[in-house]
Point group: C2
Chain length 112, copies 2
Amino acid sequence: MDYKIKSRIWIEADGNILLGEGRVSLLKAIAETGSLSKAAKKLGMSYKKAWALIDAINTRAAKPAIVTNIGGKGGGGATLTPYGATLIEVFEKINKNCWRFLDKQIKKSELE
Amino acid sequence: MDYKIKSRIWIEADGNILLGEGRVSLLKAIAETGSLSKAAKKLGMSYKKAWALIDAINTRAAKPAIVTNIGGKGGGGATLTPYGATLIEVFEKINKNCWRFLDKQIKKSELE
DNA sequence: TAGCGTTATATCCTATCAAATATAACGCTT
DNA sequence: AAGCGTTATATTTGATAGGATATAACGCTA
């Protein structure tokens, strides 16, 4: 039998979810498109959900990860802050390290 | 800000979930009670869900983890196999190791 | 000042998952 | 042979999360 081990990690602040894989994807899509609505469409996600996620991230993080603007050039938009970029970087690094670690663990276990 | 990192791991066989935290809890409850229905009640889970989980585990694992009996002494029952005990042991060990690993990682990251 | 594309927000609607319920089948016990 | 408590299974019901839709507010642009 060929067993594989999978994982999901997330960061919590005060017992509330701050950042997981889905939220990181959203942050990256916003960084690429400069817009919350375009990022949502790109990911096949409703605007409502995307907005709720960003709101949760911003209210729970030590500093905002996304800055939004209503009106103005192009109608407005959303941009990733340097702090948001740091969050992405840290999350993805730890996530990859976790995968490697677990692969070693399952091999060491010698399950049949 | 006090960030914590959380994780869930699970084992897959042929792309299907074989074992996760909830299923391990169920296996342990069956080992303690000797009965699928009692284990379900103990965990506040419906019998239907418990049965479906055990069925999924048994059909996907290399060998059965639980043996069930209809009728007979006490009406029947369910018992954990030695292979099932091994699965629990391996899962819980890797899970604990994963927690320790991630704690180190988040401290090393020095997120603020 | 009118128009635009965006964020922000409320309301309604629907699809999906799980709980609840009912019932059959089974084999030891007495 | 009747009874018991269990596994196994189908069907109905209910709750909840998310999608769809509509609309207001906003500030630059032209």
